[in-house]
């Protein structure tokens, strides 16, 4: 009975907010570290992608201009979206680190907002990719059936 009362009281004191202390701090510190690694390697990956796009662009100059433009445009949109995704992740990591170091609530609010935007951006990218994939797949399939 006393135990029940104690757990009830314990629950009631925790209802308003979750305190960030103890093991959760270590986990979050480690999370901030890995997200920073992901974001930085993502930026490097985008840089490498842009470089290889430049090389491809010089090699593909013999192709039709409309085909080349659409290819270039698709690649550029992909790079911009990827850059934004990595930027959100980087800001999340930076704000999370800052909030853990200084016990700064405002930075933690920003970090949670950036994490939300990061996932939102990925979802938008996935949905657009699936729709574009279905459209291109459908048009390819119809072209094949016409040939048959």
């Amino acid at each position: 009975m006393e135990n029940n009362l104690y757990s009830q009281e314990d629950k009631l004191t925790n209802v308003t907010a979750i305190d960030i202390e103890g093991s959760i701090r270590d986990t979050m510190q480690s999370l901030a570290q890995w997200t920073k690694i992901c974001a930085i390697s993502g930026f490097v990956g985008i840089g490498v992608g842009i470089l290889s796009l430049g090389i491809t662009f010089s090699q593909l100059s013999s192709f039709g201009s409309s085909m080349l433009t659409s290819y270039l445009l698709t690649q550029l949109v992909t790079f911009v979206v990827s850059f934004l995704i990595n930027l959100f992740l980087f800001y999340f990591s930076r704000n999370l680190n800052r909030s853990l170091d200084d016990d700064d609530q405002e930075s933690f609010v920003k970090a949670s907002l950036y994490l939300k935007n990061y996932f939102r951006m990925i979802i938008i990218m996935v949905i657009v990719s699936v729709i574009l994939g279905l459209i291109s797949g459908g048009s390819t399939a119809s072209a094949i059936f016409k040939l048959l």
Binding site: L31, S41, I122, I123
Partner: protein, 149 residues
């Protein structure tokens, strides 16, 4: 009074953060389910691609595919396994976050963030591997190109 002290001393998950994290958890679950579907599709593709590659190689060379179709299928299956585990960590993060916010459960929140860390660990390691491969391929390409002259 003690609770008030705790809130002012340490930073907490307040209502605004709860709102953001709840939505993040929802998006993460959605992304994870999409990932599960993709990993299933990759497995199906692995079976077809393996057989198709074997047929193509068999038609091109008299010696047949000599197991190259199996290699292609294995690579696809490894890819599917990686995507599955990434989605699993993401799903656990989303589910844990929902539970932690709804029940104000600190332990569940720790587990949830741990799964997010594991997800990003896999993403980070894979990106670094990809970058290393790209650097090696570029170096090999440059060396091969220079040896022509």
């Amino acid at each position: 009074m003690e609770q008030q002290d705790l809130i002012t001393k340490d930073f907490t998950i307040d209502e605004t953060i709860k709102m953001h994290l709840k939505e993040t958890g929802m998006w993460a679950r959605f992304l994870a389910i999409t990932g599960f579907v993709f990993s299933g599709l990759i497995v199906v593709l692995a079976l077809f691609a393996g057989a198709m590659f074997e047929d193509m190689m068999g038609a091109a060379y008299s010696s047949g595919g000599s197991g190259q179709g199996v290699t292609v299928a294995v690579v696809y299956i490894i890819l599917a396994v990686v995507v599955f585990f990434m989605s699993l960590f993401l799903f656990r993060f989303g589910k844990g976050m929902k539970l932690a916010i709804n029940q104000t459960d600190q332990e569940e929140l720790t587990k949830s963030f741990l799964n997010l860390k594991l997800y990003h660990r896999i993403v980070g390691i894979l990106t670094i591997i990809y970058l290393v491969i790209i650097v090696f391929a570029t170096v090999i390409g440059i060396v091969a190109g220079m040896s022509r002259f």
